[in-house]
């Protein structure tokens, strides 16, 4: 009983204690946040190893996620979800149109690559700026309403953007075919391309596709420049999000979620706070969009489709809305399933269940098949339902529960041993 109340107190305290213990701050982070930040740095930097645990050629190798394309997606959609969480997790405003900002960021980025230079820095900076301006407009209008009406308004804006990009705005967006840098594009800052060379995204000459592979025994680790660029950007984005969460501004955003009435009778209008949060999270989405084109220099309107907006909602809730690391975990899980689970086909299943007698083998394959390959959405749906029902705080709450079980086990051990002394 006392144990429970203690736990409750500690779970409610972190923000307050981090505010009071400002003397022990490192880089502006409290000890707990610093640990978390450090952990995330280590995980992202070591990702090529951690995501490739199975040796090449083994049956489990298909579960390896350590290839550049997927690793880039992990961190980029991590950024997207971190930004979404600043709006949804802190203020409680559920935007259902965040993919629009991602798409607008991507288009802005690709135009920089067509007009200015293939260097990714201007592309990324401009995508953030353009998405921010777009978010300011959409937010200013949508935030006149709250709750479900706000969600519907953002959804309407996103679908409008999608339809416009697909049809009327074809001269700017490339319509159905989308956009990609062409050899003939002006690119005023870059010199002329060598004959036969195609334009490639780079960071001051370091190509995003560049990298090297490292063979250790049967393991093959891929280190990719693009991934590390995106990872560093993600770390900066994550650091900023921690600072926002712990700042007075973040506290105000939580106050908006908690009780708008009290906030306005405390002399604070909720609107500028929600609008600022909306713009910041739109800029995060733009950053993700810019990075997407930096890694893979093409963009199409389907990036703004409503399912893409829904995906980031799933990521955030699955990982744990309002937590720091949750959205990144959620993004990772969904992208992993989308890319790995969907690749498993019937043949692979037959290999797995080969050891069973023929009848059982076929039965097992038939039973498992709906959940893999194209059916991965079904598995995702089941996981999502289980998480929402049993772990309303998302994967993070699951982690805390497991950690709590270990802690309790330890405490019990301690209380057992002390009387014996």
């Amino acid at each position: 009983m006392t144990d429970q109340t203690e736990q409750h107190a500690t779970s409610a305290a972190p923000a307050a204690s981090s505010a009071t213990q400002s003397s022990t701050k490192v880089l502006g982070l409290g000890p707990k946040d610093f640990k978390l930040m450090f952990l995330v740095v280590v995980l992202t930097m070591a990702a090529p190893f951690l995501l490739n645990p199975f040796p090449e050629g083994s049956a489990m190798a298909q579960f390896n996620a350590g290839y550049p394309d997927l690793m880039q997606r992990f961190v980029i959609f991590g950024i997207f979800a971190i930004g979404f969480n600043i709006l949804f997790g802190l203020t409680g405003y559920l935007s259902f149109g965040h993919a629009a900002f991602l798409g607008v960021g991507s288009y802005a980025g690709i135009w920089m690559m067509k007009l200015l230079t293939m260097n990714v820095i201007p592309a990324i900076v401009v995508s953030v700026a353009v998405a921010g301006v777009f978010a300011l407009i959409v937010g200013y209008i949508s935030l006149r309403r709250s709750g479900i009406y706000f969600s519907i308004l953002t959804l309407a804006f996103a679908q409008m953007s999608y339809s416009l990009a697909y049809s009327v705005l074809t001269p700017i967006t490339g319509g159905e075919t989308g956009l990609q840098p062409k050899v003939a594009d002006p690119r005023i800052l870059d010199g002329a391309l060598e004959a036969g060379a195609s334009p490639r995204a780079n960071l001051f000459g370091l190509e995003m596709g560049a990298g090297f592979e490292w063979q250790v025994g049967n393991w093959l680790f891929t280190f990719n420049a693009g991934y590390y660029v995106a990872a560093v950007v993600m770390l900066v984005a994550f650091y900023l999000s921690i600072r926002i969460f712990r700042s007075p501004f973040g506290m105000m955003l939580r106050a908006v979620k908690s009780n708008q009435q009290r906030l306005s009778y405390t002399g604070l209008s909720p609107k500028p706070y929600t609008l600022a949060a909306f713009v910041i999270s739109g800029m995060y989405a733009g950053l993700a969009g810019g990075l997407l084109v930096a890694m893979d220099t093409q963009v199409g309107a389907e990036r703004m489709f409503w399912t893409a907006s829904g995906e980031v909602v799933l990521m955030t809730i699955l990982g744990g809305a309002g937590t720091l690391i949750g959205p990144v975990l959620g993004a990772g899980l969904i992208k992993y399933m989308e890319n790995i689970l969907s690749k498993i086909n019937k043949d692979i299943l037959h290999e797995w269940f080969f050891f069973l007698p023929d009848g059982f083998e076929n039965l097992m394959v038939e039973l498992v098949y709906p959940f893999i390959g194209k059916g991965w959405h079904l598995t995702l749906g089941i996981i999502f339902m289980l998480v929402v029902i049993f772990l309303p705080g998302g994967l993070v709450e699951g982690g805390q529960k497991i950690a709590g079980m270990f802690k309790r086990g330890k405490d019990a051990d301690a209380s057992k041993t002390t009387p014996a002394e």
Binding site: A16, S17, M251, Q261, T266, G267
Partner: protein, 253 residues
């Protein structure tokens, strides 16, 4: 000339005349109670004062400035704080954070994008908030989730949050509604203490005559949307019109 002047205020809801020609003057540094039976228009009047409702006709001025047409947060910045019938606090935040928000509001005005830095300011505000909690005798609860406290403590916190803004006028809407007797008495003591120690005007709407007569310096009796009589508590107690309209029904309790 009082700190708050209400002149000729009318408010209709459809066919119902909620307020009919209300004139009210609340003098500086007094505790002014507004009483009346259910449906007398007490809450409507209060909502007209804080900008939640806009009267159909008439004027409301605070320290000589009209409050009509201003939004609640602007009226609050003029120096009017309001305590609600059910305590309105930030339930998902810790008690300390609850207290920090009015401290920030007092310092920063209605919006400040202190998203990243401002560590020094934060430390200042924590100190201020802790000081205020101590004054409210709640320092030991500062890390608690606000929603997990008792009704009486929530009320105490809400009053503390209002005081942290150092308002000139504190409006209380049935501050002891739904409270246990002990909590009610604590709240009365707290309000008495505030009244004695601070340079503040209090306007209180209350059902509980025990609360009204232990606090009020002046009492206005409202019935069917119009002020019936305004006088000192002693005179109100014996006033025949009041007994008839209001106390008669309640004197038994």
């Amino acid at each position: 000339m009082g700190i708050l002047e209400v002149k000729g205020v009318n408010k209709r809801f459809g066919g119902l005349q909620a307020l009919g020609d209300v004139n009210l003057s609340i003098a500086d540094n007094v505790c002014h109670a507004i009483i009346g039976p259910n449906g007398a228009g007490k809450s409507t009047l209060l909502n007209c004062l804080v900008g939640k409702l806009i009267p159909d006709t008439g004027s409301v001025s605070f320290k000589g400035n009209s409050v009509l047409g201003r939004s609640p947060h602007e009226i609050n910045q003029m120096g009017i704080s309001r305590v609600f019938q059910t305590p309105e606090i930030f339930g998902d935040l810790s008690v300390l954070e609850n207290m920090m928000i009015p401290c920030f509001a007092k310092r920063d005005g209605y919006f400040k994008l202190n998203a990243i830095s401002d560590v020094m300011a934060q430390r200042d505000m924590v100190e201020k908030a802790e000081h205020m909690l101590e004054e409210m005798n709640m320092a030991n609860k500062k890390d608690m989730m606000a929603s997990s406290m008792s009704r009486g403590d929530k009320r105490r916190l809400e009053i503390g949050m209002c005081l942290a803004q150092e308002p000139s006028l504190l409006l209380l809407d049935e501050p002891t509604a739904g409270m246990a007797r002990a909590d009610t008495n604590n709240t009365i003591d707290l309000l008495k203490q505030i009244k004695d120690e601070r340079d503040i005007t209090i306007a209180i709407i209350e059902h509980d005559m025990h609360v009204v007569f232990s606090l009020a310096d002046r009492i206005t009796v409202l019935a069917q949307g119009t002020p019936l009589v305004e006088d000192t508590p002693e005179n109100i107690k014996g006033h025949p019109k009041v007994r008839e309209a209001y106390l008669g029904e309640n004197s038994g309790h």
